[in-house]
């Protein structure tokens, strides 16, 4: 049934038409101007350094949430080790950025030099995370859904523990052990000279990364590929029955998710005023859990939801940390030394999630978006050749009509 065999009835489809080139260029320039403006105006806009840090961290988390949303939200799989990919990206970027910075020989963190350091760090982090994504996803995505959860969790914990428990002092033998020792074990990696990872990622890079991530996530979702992925989430057997290979789509989405997480890791490692060492403790299961919360809270499959979820969770985590400042909380901690505020965070999250599951099981946005493209008005013509029962029904509206005409259903 080539298009012509279906008849040539003139018909306007509502297919999105390409943005006029001029509009595209203008939008790109406006976004570029905005992030450059933020690079230089951020200090004035947000004078408080702690708040600056929080905003940048929230944006990194938006990238984390957007990437996890591809696999957990759109493809309907369940990865619970996303922090592992963020961590791999962070370590890779830290090593690359550290060495390039050293080679540049300029001690100051110059904005101009960031255009050498950051692209390299981002590419390396995304690339290495993608390779790990392929290695983890290829075997587990062939199997039933729950295998992915187990494998991703195992992968993230192995990654973290291998680094955290590596022998760092004394004589280490062999290239792998030497490399792990170089990563600094539990204390973390602080650049080739152990004086901190260069912090090239200012507002320009982090806002820029977030904007690009939103655009990519949006375009993926509203493409044939995203449609197939959502179909896969709804029904794998039916998806395969129309020629879409589930494994291929799942693996691709998983690699894309891992790449995004790797890039987020690069931002985290190089974040201005951030932690100058990359430490294994940043990538515990708690962080993977945060990422899952961001996606579910915002609405699985929603780009808008991932943004809102990423920001919301970041600020909530910070607020819980701030509790420590209160004297009453400190007194409580003194009285009960085993009281762990991290555990408290889990309690708060769990309560929020349970409440949400009861009140709004599909998350804040469900699968929807803030902006919804209205379907364009379609001019509809009589079909080139209607099904037989329909013509009969039209000739004789009294008679019962066929199942393919829709007119008999009441």
């Amino acid at each position: 049934m080539s298009p012509s065999t279906l008849g040539d009835g003139a018909r306007t489809s509502r297919a999105a038409s390409p943005n006029p080139l001029l509009r595209r260029i203008l939008v790109t320039l406006a976004l570029l101007g905005a992030v450059v403006g933020l690079e230089f105006g951020f200090d004035t806009l947000v004078p408080d350094v702690a708040l600056q840090q929080l905003v940048l961290f929230a944006l990194v988390n938006v990238v984390v949430a957007l990437s996890l949303n591809v696999i957990n939200g759109m493809a309907g799989q369940f990865s619970i080790g996303h922090a592992g990919f963020v961590g791999i990206g962070a370590y890779t970027a830290a090593i690359v950025a550290g060495h390039i910075h050293k080679a540049l020989g300029v001690d100051d963190i110059l904005f101009s030099n960031s255009f050498i350091v950051m692209p390299a760090a981002i590419l390396a982090a995304g690339g290495v995370a993608a390779i790990f994504g392929l290695v983890v996803g290829l075997p587990s995505l062939r199997l039933r859904g729950d295998y992915l959860a187990i494998v991703t969790l195992g992968f993230a914990e192995i990654f973290r523990l291998v680094i955290a428990t590596a022998q760092t002092g004394g004589d280490v033998e062999g290239p792998i052990a030497k490399f792990l020792a170089y990563l600094g074990g539990q204390n973390g990696y602080a650049g080739p000279d152990r004086n901190g990872v260069p912090q090239y990622a200012g507002p320009f890079w982090i806002f820029g990364a977030a904007v690009v991530a939103v655009i990519i996530a949006w375009r993926l979702k509203f493409s044939g590929w995203g449609r197939a992925l959502r179909a896969l989430r709804e029904d794998e057997i039916a998806t395969a029955s129309v020629g879409v290979d589930p494994t291929r789509y799942k693996v691709t989405s998983f690699v894309i998710a891992a790449t995004g997480a790797g890039v987020a890791g690069a931002m985290l490692a190089s974040m201005r005023n951030g932690n100058p060492t990359v430490q294994p403790d940043q990538f515990t299961f708690a962080y993977s859990f945060d990422a899952i919360t961001m996606v579910i809270l915002g609405g699985s499959g929603s780009v808008s939801g991932a943004i809102v979820g990423g920001v919301f969770v970041t600020f909530t985590v910070k607020m819980i940390e701030q509790l420590q400042r209160f004297e009453s909380v400190q007194a409580l901690q003194a009285a009960y030394p085993s009281l762990d505020l991290n555990a408290l965070r889990m309690v708060v999250y769990a309560s929020v999630l349970i409440g949400l599951m009861i009140l709004r099981p599909e998350g804040i946005f469900g699968e929807r978006e803030i902006i919804r493209r209205k379907p364009r008005q379609r001019v509809s013509h009589a079909p080139p050749e209607p099904l037989p029962a329909r013509t009969e029904a039209e000739a004789n509206p009294e008679s019962e009509t066929g199942p393919l005409t829709g007119k008999a259903e009441k």
Binding site: G9, R230, A238, A240, T252, P388, G406, A408
Partner: protein, 270 residues
């Protein structure tokens, strides 16, 4: 030339022989009935042909190619489309999107051009939508294009499933109980539509159906299974008279009774 050729196809689940050495040929461009009492193995045959299950033994050949070594998506791309006994639509997707997924495998522009929103992306998308809407118009679903598929009535969902299968441009269409839940008039319409689709799109149709009015009325050749075994094969006339078939349907409505009941109803209607 036969469109589909099954040779000694066997499938067991644990100790249960759901399909035991089934052999039949489906003539090209025919409407072929696969019938039998509940649990006879009809749906399992569909699942074997479409690659959802691998046969334990035997061969399934389509246009000279062995299907049992291929994955479901590959089989679909060869031109074998199906509907499901328990409707399997993409619930949260719109009617239009449901149909569009079925031409995803034919999209020429890749992921990169989707990310860049290149001209070829828009061209492909526009062409796919045009074809999808034409197909939906044939099934009178074009006005519902932007509704989510779960919001459709049962009959519309069944029709959408056929439309989605047709979007694959199949050479064979496997229909698993399309008349389930239809009244007499709807089933009469379905008969016409199956013939119409076959003629219009040069299809081979394999029909699994309990509704004897439809099976006897539309099929040119019928294969009867019972407990996974072949018990009869022939024209509707032959099947109607076959004592083994009558025995297999004992306790149920026999093909003969169903046909005469249908005839009586038809008389009453006129």
């Amino acid at each position: 030339m036969s469109a589909l050729d099954l040779q000694g196809v066997t499938k067991t689940f644990g100790g249960l022989r759901a399909v035991g050495g089934v052999t039949f040929k489906v003539p090209e461009r025919s409407i072929f009935g696969l019938i039998g009492p509940n649990g006879a193995g009809k749906t399992t045959v569909f699942n074997l042909v479409t690659g959802v299950y691998k046969p334990d033994s035997g061969s399934i050949r389509f246009a000279g190619e062995e299907l049992s070594v291929l994955k479901p998506a590959q089989i679909a791309r060869r031109g074998v489309a199906r509907t499901f006994q328990n409707i399997r639509l993409f619930g949260q997707l719109t009617v239009l999107e449901n149909v569009l997924v079925a031409c995803e495998n034919r999209r020429r522009s890749g992921l990169l051009s989707a990310l860049l929103r290149s001209p070829s992306f828009f061209r492909d998308e526009a062409e796919m939508q045009r074809r999808a809407l034409e197909l939906l118009a044939i099934f009178d679903l074009d006005k519902l294009a932007d509704e989510t598929s779960t919001s459709l009535s049962y009959g519309n969902q069944r029709r959408l499933e056929i439309a989605r299968a047709m979007m694959l441009e199949p050479k064979i269409l496997l229909l698993d109980e399309p008349a389930a839940g239809m009244n007499y008039g709807e089933a009469e319409g379905l008969k016409k539509q199956i013939r119409w689709l076959r003629d219009r799109f040069d299809l081979t149709v394999i029909l699994v159906e309990h509704n004897m009015q439809v099976v006897m009325g539309v099929c040119e050749e019928i294969h009867v299974l019972d407990h996974g075994e072949t018990i009869a094969h022939g024209t509707p006339e032959e099947i109607r008279k076959n004592p083994k078939v009558l025995a297999a349907y004992l306790g149920e409505e026999t093909p003969d009774e169903a046909a005469s009941a249908a005839a009586a109803e038809e008389e009453a209607a006129t």
